[in-house]
């Protein structure tokens, strides 16, 4: 896990993302400026379609920006090849999805081990050790041999968190991690993320629920593909409702 210093981990300048279809040009992100420091816990919120998932995908190198600059660990990453982005994703980024996205054919242990198997040269014993550690951290070591279908939603999400942690990434990206959970399990996952943050993890979470956004140190509001202040956000929302 990265150290909890104050150095900048992610730096984004004037980032844009445009989707083109036959006749329509959709500006999903327009002129985003954002920095995330190591050890920071950031929440991104906003209404549906505001671009927060698109931004998270670009942050996670699942997608590339149309314009602007993106530096991760001080290195530009906006124009890397697919395989280079895969490598960085594997080593620097841990994903937590709304719908858990565990692979049904694999056991809990195999799911958590999966990102480590994509790292060349990591011995099997080391992988097993990390998997065990990650699962113990989320209190799921006792379900190692189970398949995802045999777990509750909350348990599946804890396994997904363990999978994200196992590779010791620089940042955890969580996309609506409580979206598919009831409030009790949702709270439990939020507490888990808070614990991880206290232990030094850098976390960027997308959520539309203000209750969960409050768990973060800092909240970034997005509206129509732009970062806005909280006051601006309220005003724009009110206008939209009117």
């Amino acid at each position: 896990m990265a150290s909890n210093g104050n150095s900048t981990l992610i730096e984004i300048e004037d980032l844009t993302k445009v989707f083109y279809t036959d006749e329509v040009e959709t500006h999903a992100l327009s002129g985003i400026h954002l920095t995330i420091d190591r050890g920071e816990y950031l929440a991104m919120s906003g209404p549906s379609g505001c671009g927060k998932s698109t931004l998270l995908s670009i942050l996670g190198l699942l997608d590339t920006p149309t314009g602007g600059r993106y530096q991760l660990n001080g290195k530009p990453v906006e124009n890397l090849s697919f395989s280079e982005r895969s490598r960085i994703r594997n080593q620097e980024i841990g994903f937590i999805f709304q719908s858990f996205n565990l692979i049904g054919d694999l056991t809990v242990e195999e799911n958590v081990e999966l990102p480590l198997t994509y790292r060349a040269g990591m011995p099997s014993a080391e992988r097993k050790r990390r998997v065990k550690e990650a699962l113990e951290r989320v209190n799921m070591a006792h379900r190692m041999r189970h398949y995802p279908a045999q777990l509750s939603g909350g348990q599946q999400q804890r396994v997904a968190v363990a999978r994200a942690l196992a590779g010791s990434p620089s940042i955890l990206l969580a996309d609506e991690p409580t979206g598919n959970l009831d409030s009790k399990n949702g709270e439990a996952v939020m507490h888990l993320l808070a614990d991880l943050h206290r232990e030094g993890s850098t976390i960027c979470m997308v959520t539309h629920d203000p209750r969960f956004a409050r768990h973060a140190e800092r909240e970034v509001h997005l509206f129509d593909g732009k970062v806005v202040s909280e006051q601006e956000m309220k005003k724009l929302e009110a206008e939209a409702e009117a």
């Binding site: 998932s53 699942l62 895969s86 049904g104 994509y118």
Partner: protein, 810 residues
């Protein structure tokens, strides 16, 4: 309700035309080949022979004291017929020769001729279509100038003219009266076509002597008499004759076999094995269809969940899915019948030559019903599993999952099972086809002792009456050789009584004078041939020792005939310390008439399946005039350079200039003769080859379909893997590794099956698994590579999945 199900099924197929076309095509291909083979089995094995009470007609096979097949002598047959009690008819016949028939429609034609005793038609109990068959006593000299036409000869050469009865026609130069026409479908021997039937009356050299074995026998046992009783009766007669004529008949045995069994004996085993092969193809097709239905079922889970949610019972869902399956089956059956008909049409000439009852192969109601039944069965078998699975889904889960709940481990295992099954069955077929094709290729490249590509051969059938009192060699053969030798491109010309590869089995027991008697129960036969001097040049047969035959030295007037023998003869009969060219064969009563060996020549193959047989050759000039009818039927052989087609017209002219009454039979190269001799092997090789190729295509299509389906189903998982850092090449490798695992398992199971089923496969081809290990491994590798190539496209599709898109869809 049924109609509603049917209309809905039709709408479903219209909505997914690609799916429907793939299923129908798969069913059509697999049902088509199964129907075609069933059609062959129906005609060759299942359908009764076209005779009255065929269960009482027997083939009488007699063997020599040394245990080799040996037909009856005329005198022996007459005694057998007189002394046997359990037969309503025991007839003798030969079909060795073609008869030259002067026809109005086509001039002189050489037709297959069955010469038989007067009671021949009683054996078969079939009434003529027109006129009558032979009357008692019509096989005696002077009363034998009658002919019965087969239906096909009547149609083809007499235009089906009903007034043909009573008409005089020239048969081998003799005038004969057409007394009857047999109905369509009657043929005996069953493999003959356009044949004629004449009463058997041969000249003295044939009819005299109990050691002269040439007459085939067929019989009908009396009502209430079993084949075993008939066998015992005739065995008793043989035993009596052995005691009465110890020199010639002692130790001869008889074996009765139902004619139907005798006819099927060559093809029965291979055809059942072929049926097993097409059932394997059908199984592959079923698995394919099941896989497709399963894949489609996953897409329809939501529809089924909605139906269940609004009250449909499991039986109703199953019925709906089965109606769809039957509809697909009927469409598949229609395609299959079309395919089977086309296959049989394309292979008709092949089948007629390869199978004794090949001409009877045709589509009929039984076959059509079998095709529809097979298709429905195949479709029901394929749709049952998907139907049960779909009808049993949890609607709540399926509706929540948005109709995409099909990525469980059970499904993966099922799909893997499908692939492994298909590949395993394909492996068995590919191995069998490979072995069969290799056998044919080996035979084709066998060293025959001559180059078959450069030799043309045609049959010459002379009218015996035309050369009565004349020297056929001086008056016909020598002038013909002279004319043919001057045809541009001809390098050598000659004649032989039995064409190598095509015919063999005219033989005699041999004993070298001065040697100890032949050991009992040991085959001591040598093939007998009559040849012209040019024959050796045409076949490139070298002289090894002594001298070649020569018309100047080897004359009919010599007291003792001279022969050349081949190296196989020397090895078999002449002790190593003796000079074969000083030996004589004690084959005549008087020592001065014993045959002299004057030369030793190289071996050539007479029978492609056997090593060279011992052979002795006489010069045709040595035959005394009274024995010259033996060479009325000879094979004219020509060594040529350039194009055979360019020589054929000149050859026709030469024959007609030598004798205009000789029917011209289109010549064939010896390569063609080899091909025709191997026709059964080729048929097996071709059919297994086609089935193996079809199985391979079906298996690869199935593999492609199932891998595509897996990729489609696993899109989200692949997206997750990519999000976690998997590169495209890793996804490609992962997909192909899974396919390779399934292919490997399929190939391993297939090899195991091949070894396990070697007894069944051994009916068509014997193999030693240990010796063939290298070949099997190569075929396995080819299959795995082909499978990986088939899976490459869907695997590449998997590798090109956009992870963000895949996860967003989720």
């Amino acid at each position: 309700m049924f109609m509603r199900n049917l209309f809905f099924a039709l709408r479903q197929l219209r909505r997914a035309p690609g799916f429907a076309a793939t299923v129908v095509l798969t069913l059509a291909l697999s049902v088509g080949v199964a129907t075609a083979v069933f059609c062959v089995i129906d005609a060759v094995i299942l359908r009764p022979l076209p005779y009255a009470h065929p269960d009482r007609i027997v083939d009488v096979e007699s063997t020599s004291r040394s245990g080799y097949a040996q037909p009856a002598s005329w005198e022996g047959f007459v005694d057998e017929r007189a002394q046997a009690h359990d037969f309503s008819a025991l007839a003798g016949y030969i079909n060795y020769f073609k008869a030259t028939v002067d026809t109005q429609a086509a001039g002189p034609v050489a037709l297959g001729s069955v010469e038989s005793t007067d009671n021949f038609f009683q054996v078969f109990g079939v009434n003529p279509l027109l006129g009558r068959t032979f009357l008692p006593g019509e096989d005696e000299r002077g009363r034998n100038q009658v002919v019965v036409l087969s239906y096909s000869a009547w149609q083809r050469y007499f235009d089906g003219d009903r007034s043909v009865i009573g008409r005089a026609v020239k048969v081998d130069g003799h005038t004969a009266t057409v007394v009857g026409v047999m109905p369509a479908g009657f043929r005996f021997p069953i493999n003959m076509h356009d044949e004629i039937y004449t009463p058997l009356h041969r000249d003295l050299p044939w009819m005299n002597g109990r050691g002269n074995h040439w007459l085939r026998t067929v019989g009908r046992v009396k009502d209430g008499i079993s084949v075993a009783q008939g066998q015992a009766d005739l065995a008793h007669v043989f035993s009596n004759l052995g005691r009465a004529y110890p020199d010639t008949d002692e130790g001869r045995t008889v074996h009765l076999q139902l004619l139907a069994q005798s006819i099927e004996s060559q093809s029965r085993g291979p055809l059942w094995t072929l049926l097993a092969a097409v059932l394997a193809v059908l199984a592959i097709g079923c698995v394919n269809v099941a896989g497709l239905l399963l894949a489609r079922g996953v897409q329809r889970e939501r529809e089924m969940a909605v139906r269940t949610a609004i009250g449909a019972g499991r039986a109703q869902l199953v019925r709906q899915l089965l109606v769809e399956g039957v509809l697909l089956a009927l469409l598949g059956a229609a395609g299959g019948i079309l395919l089977a008909g086309t296959m049989l049409d394309l292979m008709r000439a092949f089948l007629i030559k390869a199978l004794q009852r090949g001409a009877e192969i045709q589509m009929n109601w039984t076959v059509l019903a079998a095709a529809v039944g097979l298709a429905v069965l195949a479709s029901l078998a394929s749709s049952a599993l998907p139907a049960l699975r779909l009808s049993g889904i949890d609607p709540n889960r399926a509706l929540k999952a948005g109709g995409n709940a099909g990525t469980g481990r059970g499904q993966h295992r099922l799909r893997a099972g499908f692939i492994v099954t298909q590949i395993a069955l394909t492996m068995v077929l590919v191995v069998t086809a490979g072995l069969l094709i290799r056998v044919v290729m080996n035979f084709r490249h066998e060293n025959l002792g001559f180059d078959p590509a450069d030799i043309l051969a045609t049959q010459v059938n002379l009218s015996p009456t035309r050369y009565e009192g004349r020297d056929v060699v001086t008056d016909f053969y020598n002038p013909l050789f002279e004319r043919v030798a001057h045809i541009p491109g001809v390098r050598a010309v000659g004649a032989i009584s039995l064409l190598p590869i095509e015919s063999y089995g005219s033989n005699s027991d041999i004993h070298i004078a001065g040697q100890p008697p032949n050991p009992p129960n040991r085959e001591m036969l040598a093939e007998n041939r009559f040849v012209s001097t040019g024959y050796f040049n045409v076949f490139g047969i070298p002289l090894r020792r002594g001298r070649m035959l020569s018309p100047n030295l080897d004359r009919a007037s010599n007291p003792s005939p001279s022969v050349v023998v081949n190296e196989a003869f020397v090895r078999k009969f002449v002790p190593a310390n003796l000079d074969p060219t000083t030996q004589r064969i004690d084959d005549a009563d008087k020592e001065e008439n014993w045959t002299r060996i004057v030369g030793v020549v190289g071996n050539i193959r007479q029978d492609i399946y056997e090593p060279p047989l011992a052979e002795r050759d006489w010069l045709i000039e040595e035959l005394p005039a009274k024995e010259q009818p033996i060479i009325d039927n000879m094979s004219l052989v020509v060594r040529f350079e350039g194009s055979a087609a360019a020589i054929v017209p000149a050859l026709r002219n030469a024959i007609h200039q030598a004798d205009p009454t000789v029917p011209f039979i289109a010549p064939e190269t010896m390569s063609d003769v080899v091909s025709e001799t191997l026709i059964f092997n080729r048929m097996e090789g071709w059919l297994f080859g086609i089935f193996a190729a079809l199985a391979l295509v079906l298996a690869l299509v199935g593999l492609y379909g199932l891998v595509s389906h897996e990729v489609e189903q696993a899109t989200r998982d692949i997206g997750v893997r990519m999000a976690l850092g998997a590169t495209r090449s890793r996804i490609l490798a992962m997909t192909l590794a899974r396919v390779a695992w399934m292919l490997g398992a399929g190939v391993a199971v297939g090899l195991l099956l091949t070894v396990t089923a070697r007894k069944l496969i051994g009916v068509v081809i014997y193999f030693n698994a240990e010796k063939e290990a290298g070949g099997f491994a190569l075929l396995a590798l080819i299959l795995v590579v082909a499978g990986l190539l088939a899976a490459l496209l869907p695997a590449m599709r998997a590798a090109s999945i956009d992870p963000m898109q895949a996860l967003r869809n989720e």
